[in-house]
Symmetry: C2
Subunit: 279 residues, 2 copies
């Protein structure tokens, strides 16, 4: 029999995962959400086999993916507990792992219910199931964060089935890494927009906006409420990355009038080149 | 008779301008460059009617566009002077205007040769005539910086003919504006790459790189030598923008653990939305 996956929160990530899993024909997908309207969309888009607005529907699931915003992961897990059968594996897709896993470790729960932290490094500044797409995880990376006694294999297989590469790391390593490469860019982009918005002569500047400003601030379109949760949950590591980043800015500022600047710019270009194949 | 435009430096900008001007059928275009090979490419791509490797070919031109890197604009203009006929209008496409116009004001030259500063706010991280494209200026903005006794109309018509909107501003206004909205983003992007490249655990971080980092650092692919020239030529204003930007970072860092963060992120999103029509 096919394993049953319950996805709680069928938005961009949950919906894309549901679509991709159903296409493999190896999983059955139950979508659980508060909005019947959104579940209807999810079903129409082929993201789920079955819809439910009550967490008790997760009772039959072998794997549960909590795909709701960071602040809701632990409360959702807590509410789920009474409904789950022994051996159920629960995971999440949150962008911060330390705080979530610490809170979960503190919860009283049956030893037979296992939680494994998860974070698919895929997404879009768009949100909602209508933006979901079955290829979202193809070629992407998913981080799994193990916890004591929790088996990883079922989740490895699940993410690999939808085309992702799985990396296992600790919550601390994960949070430090994403602070620099994902959370910091969001802070930088918002600060750049605020720097412009705060200028008295902004009306004069707007007609001059071109590609560099657009690309650098694209992530500002991401959901503000969700991103505030993420940045708050990883505040310490984000602050640390900001310190590191400020040092780089100071270093570059000193070079602005020096011949070494071209070499410095070449170095970053050379380092970045292979990371994105020149895109 | 059609006005003749000489384009000195037929790369991305010069080549795109040549292609676009020729398509209007209202201009004749002479391409002047040091490399016969690149001029051959320019001609094959329809960017120029005639090619020359010597500046004397500009003698018959009514309008001359110096489309070479910032540091070469003034030396090129100086070498051009002996060849030009009275009434010739010379312009450039450099990203910094104050220093170039100050240097030109100091040059001895016949009053009948007029220089007007120009800066098309269009481009790409790609360079060279092979990346040129006749639609590059469609819907873009071109800044013209007037100088005493120099008529603007011929250049307004030229840029409007290729689909650009012309804005007239002073060199100081221009340099202050582009420092924030174009030069600062380049500094920020390079600093972000260096922040990653400088981490000892960078090999572990690279598999986690996703869209936000890619978008924020795309401009790092721009030509380092040209950008070092631009940043150096506008160093004072770029420093000033960096100060402003650092204040925004500090403000955001203080908010990382506060409820006000979501409001702050919403404000930048609301401000940015209409600027790029949600892209």
């Amino acid at each position: 029999m096919k394993p049953t996956v319950a996805i709680i929160g069928v938005g961009l990530i949950g919906g894309s995962l549901g679509q991709a899993l159903r296409r493999t024909k190896k999983y059955r997908v139950i979508g659980i959400g508060r909005s019947a309207r959104r579940l209807y969309d999810a079903r129409r888009l082929g993201a789920i086999d079955q819809a439910a607005t009550d967490l008790s529907a997760a009772a039959t699931a072998d794997i549960i993916v909590i795909a709701s915003p960071v602040d809701t992961i632990v409360p959702t897990f807590k509410k789920l507990l009474p409904h789950l059968k022994p051996g159920t594996i629960v995971t999440d897709v949150g962008s911060v792992k330390g705080q979530v896993l610490a809170d979960i470790a503190r919860l009283k729960r049956p030893r037979s219910i296992r939680f494994v932290g998860g974070h698919p490094l895929a997404g879009s500044h768009k949100t909602g199931v209508k933006a979901s797409n079955f290829r979202l995880f193809e070629g992407s990376t998913v981080v799994l964060v193990p916890t004591p006694h929790a088996p990883l294999q079922a989740l490895k297989s699940l993410w690999q089935a939808v085309g992702a590469r799985v990396i296992v790391m600790s919550a601390a390593e994960h949070d430090r890494a994403v602070a620099l490469i994902s959370h910091l860019p969001h802070v930088l982009a918002h600060a750049l927009v605020h720097a412009l918005a705060g200028r008295r002569d902004r009306r004069q500047l707007i007609p001059l906006l071109a590609g560099s400003f657009r690309d650098m601030t694209r992530v500002v379109s991401s959901d503000p409420a969700q991103w505030a949760q993420i940045l708050r949950a990883n505040a310490r590591e984000v602050s640390h990355s900001l310190q590191l980043y400020r040092r780089e800015l100071t270093r570059m500022e000193k070079m602005l009038t020096r011949r070494t600047l071209a070499v410095h710019l070449s170095k970053s270009q050379t380092f970045r080149g292979p990371l994105f194949h020149g895109v």
